[in-house]
């Protein structure tokens, strides 16, 4: 009997099919890896299993019976713990045990210790969550799942912000639980970890299962990654060797408390530079500062040989730096403005005559970029929210480009974009760099960096640890440095 059996699951958002007839099974008492590139449909599938989203079609069985979300616990990447409460208060949050009118702290802490003990972890349940390191926070989340007597625990990239030692601790807990008959679904991008801890795997690509099987001695990371990327996507010929120009942007000794320290780097005209690392590496904060969106900072930003104090985003624009932030919905688009206005937002004040916006100029600008970036936009007077995610992302990219920058900082530029649109965005980046634009790409997807970048800096806990050229930027090298290791 399977712990989880999902059959013929279908799901679409407006016109986009995210899951097309997916079959997914997890054996009882096993650790099952769910793999796939961003946008492959992993989160959607798990959100359906976790009863956060509803399926359009298909059948779900849990322990051979009809779907019951009480048996399933979903531990999200963003943990949902309250830092200012202690461990057992977090475990019993919302379902506190009481003795009369008062909390029954004794029983709660006792049971919390029992659950933690079951995982082979010895920690005082009175410890405040704010004092726990990331791995113990994960463990607290798992304990909460056990307390509600979940039989299936979904863990969404639990190890992204953990050190090797902490990761090992989590793996031991996972193995202990498996041996007690609990099933775990492990979502991860780290293939070496999958081979180390998982019993079986399922790989999704573009909403379909492309491979599933047991983890055996013969299975290699390469086997898995080939399935994840897929062969039909033509990744060849995106990167081109180019003549690079003078240094256009330099960062000297930049530091900001708790975010990044002592960063030095440079960028040449026409260059595509990658910056990568794990969650908490400080790259987003660093480049938000470079763009003037995260003042104040220590150190210097030098543009074409002159220091510029980045106090606000407008300073960055006048110094020809543009920025595509991560999290398009929160930081990128203005949902109440139409496509044209979103695209031209940074330069609206430059397309006025006698104080009134020139609609003809606005149209022309929009149509130029719609053509240039191959945006499927229809009527550009519609709200930006009428577009698909990939096309919205292209509008945000166009917004950055139309301020006529010489340096474009892209933070997670292909988030939520399907594979085809991704490749197009990569091609655009290379073709624009041939025209003299310089790019800085912040990403944790190594294939993305390999397809576009001339050089890559790897960050770990706020510091640049290593610089790689194209030959050296392998998945292994980058993973090693970004988890704090040394070559």
């Amino acid at each position: 009997m399977f712990a989880v059996e999902m059959k013929g699951i279908k799901k679409s958002f407006s016109a986009n099919y995210v899951l097309k007839d997916v079959n997914f099974t997890v054996e009882k008492g096993s650790i099952h890896a769910l793999l796939g590139e961003n946008g492959a449909g992993k989160s959607t599938l798990m959100n359906i299993l976790g009863n956060i989203l509803h399926k359009d079609d298909g059948q779900i069985l849990v322990y051979g019976e009809s779907f019951d979300d009480k048996k399933i616990a979903f531990i999200h990447q963003e943990l949902s713990l309250v830092n200012d409460l202690n461990i057992f208060e977090n475990l019993y949050l919302g379902k506190e045990l009481k003795k009369g009118f008062l909390l029954d702290k004794k029983t709660m802490s006792h049971r919390a210790s029992e659950v933690l003990g079951r995982m082979g972890v010895d920690i005082n349940p009175y410890t405040m969550v704010s004092e726990l390191n990331p791995s113990y926070k994960q463990i607290t989340e798992i304990a909460r799942a056990l307390l509600k007597e979940a039989q299936v625990i979904i863990m969404d990239e639990p190890t992204t912000s953990l050190t090797e030692v902490e990761t090992e601790l989590i793996f031991n807990v996972m193995r202990t639980l498996r041996d007690q008959g609990i099933s775990l679904i492990f979502i991860s991008h780290k293939l070496n970890e999958v081979l180390e801890v998982c019993d079986s795997y399922t790989i999704l690509r573009d909403g379909e299962v492309v491979a599933t099987g047991k983890v055996s001695e013969e299975l290699t990371e390469k086997d898995l990654s080939t399935h994840m990327v897929g062969e039909e996507v033509n990744t060849e010929g995106i990167y081109k060797t180019r003549e690079l120009g003078e240094v256009i942007l330099e960062i000297k000794n930049m530091s900001k408390e708790r975010e990044y320290k002592n960063v030095n780097l440079n960028l040449r005209k026409g260059e595509v530079l990658g910056v990568t690392g794990l969650l908490g590496d400080g790259r987003t904060e660093l480049f938000a500062s470079v763009y003037g969106a995260n003042p104040p900072y220590e150190g210097k930003v030098i543009i074409e040989g002159k220091e510029v104090k980045m106090r606000g985003t407008h300073t960055a624009m006048t110094n020809k730096i543009a920025y595509v932030p991560k999290n398009r919905k929160e930081n990128g688009i203005i949902a109440d403005l139409n496509i044209k206005e979103n695209l031209a937002l940074s330069v609206l004040s430059k397309i006025q005559s006698f104080g009134i916006l020139k609609n003809s100029t606005l149209e022309k600008l929009t149509n130029d970029y719609v053509k240039k970036l191959d945006i499927k936009a229809g009527d550009t007077n519609n709200l930006i929210t009428s577009l698909s995610g990939g096309n919205q992302q292209k509008i945000v990219l166009a917004k950055a480009l139309c301020s006529n920058p010489s340096v474009v900082i892209l933070d997670n530029p292909t988030q939520g974009v399907d594979v085809g649109a991704k490749m197009e965005i990569y091609r655009q980046i290379i073709s624009l760099s041939e025209q003299g634009y310089s790019f800085i790409i912040l990403s944790n997807e190594v294939p993305e960096l390999q397809r576009t970048c001339d050089r890559v800096y790897v960050m770990f806990q706020g510091e640049i640890r290593q610089e790689f050229n194209r030959e050296e930027m392998t998945e292994e090298n980058i993973m090693l440095i970004s988890t704090g290791g040394k070559l």
Binding site: A293, P325, E330, N331, E341, L348
Partner: protein, 335 residues
């Protein structure tokens, strides 16, 4: 040419549609006692002051803010205007003082909200009390009359100031009382502000900030400056309304002038279809929102209903308007 989407039309013009429905209902109840041109002119004239103030409130709310101080500010500005005219004998100086005071009060609110990051609700709540208290203190809880000091008539010729509000145009058989000038001010300012909102970069930036301030900042929009500017424009509009009030009555009172204008203005903005969360709304909607409140008031008067109940009906309409908006934004999400 696309098909005419009547659902979309109803959603976008809800304020206008509500207003027309109300007109039909009012006419059905009161017939020509309500539906005659003199009554319409009265409704327009009686709501001009709140109408102009509500225009300022519209852009503030679109930008994601709120202004509770505008009623007190109207009183203080009107008092200053008449005091300056009485002291100098110059109407021009009085008008300049009004705009200076109004724009300065906007600057005060705007800087505290934008640069000191204090919530708009708190800043303008404080400012409401500050402006009212200053008025009460300087005018000793009493009022001021144009061209007079205490009981004595001043030896200056300033009564021309009253023409600013009381001049009537197009007097004819059909319109025995003509159209008062302030009605034209109101309509002109509505059109000007509508063009500003729709057709200028600054106008679009206001919507961008109200809809998603982070994204606007990351798009190099000068968020702080734009916010301060919004409160300054609203301050200028408030000063215009204060001039209309001071001129219309020829007097201002530190205790009673301008009371509850801020709430009436916000009510008009909400009924006009502007989202309290910012990012969406139109000055033309506010124009009809103000008129909707005016027609309700007028209708209840004509029907002889107790005037103390006007507020209850107006308050209910505001709540219904917000309920309607919420269901609309749910509908739009489903598209």
């Amino acid at each position: 040419m696309k098909n005419f989407n009547y659902k979309q039309f109803l959603i976008e013009n809800s304020a206008f549609v509500t207003f027309v429905l109300l007109l039909i209902i009012a006419t059905a109840i009161m017939g020509t006692t309500f539906f005659n041109i003199t009554n319409f002119v009265n409704i327009l004239f009686n709501n001009t002051i709140v109408g102009i103030i509500a225009l300022g409130a519209t852009i503030i709310i679109i930008s994601g803010g709120i202004d509770l101080s505008v009623g007190s500010a109207t009183a203080l500005t009107g008092l200053i205007t008449i005091a300056v005219i009485n002291a100098t004998g110059s109407i021009a100086l009085g008008v300049m003082a009004a705009f200076a005071a109004g724009i300065f009060m906007g600057l005060f609110n705007g800087v505290l909200i934008s640069y000191f990051r204090i919530p708009a609700f708190i800043v303008t709540l404080g400012a409401m009390q500050i402006f009212r208290s200053l008025s009460l203190h300087y005018w000793n809880g009493g009022g001021i009359i144009l061209g007079r000091a205490g009981g004595t008539v001043l030896d200056i010729d300033v009564l021309g100031f009253r023409d600013f509000s009381n001049t009537r145009l197009f007097t004819s058989e059909l319109l025995p009382n003509g159209l008062p000038l302030p009605v034209f001010y109101w309509i002109a300012l509505t059109i000007l502000l509508a063009v500003f909102c729709k057709k200028t970069a600054l106008g679009r930036h206001i919507y961008a900030i109200g809809s998603n301030e982070r994204a606007a900042n990351l798009s190099a929009v000068k968020v702080k400056q734009v916010k301060v500017f919004v409160y300054m424009i609203a301050g200028g509009l408030m000063a215009f309304a204060a001039l209309v009030e001071a001129s219309r009555l020829g007097s201002m009172n530190s205790a009673t002038s301008g009371t509850l204008y801020e709430l009436q203005a916000i009510a008009a903005v909400v009924i006009g279809g502007t989202a309290m969360s910012g990012g969406r709304g139109r000055p033309i909607g506010t124009f009809f929102g103000t008129l909707t409140l005016g027609v309700i008031n007028n209708l209840m008067n004509l029907m002889g209903l107790p005037s103390f109940l006007v507020g209850a009906i107006q308050g209910s309409i505001v709540i219904i308007a917000v309920l309607f908006q919420m269901s609309v934004s749910k509908m739009q999400k489903q598209f």
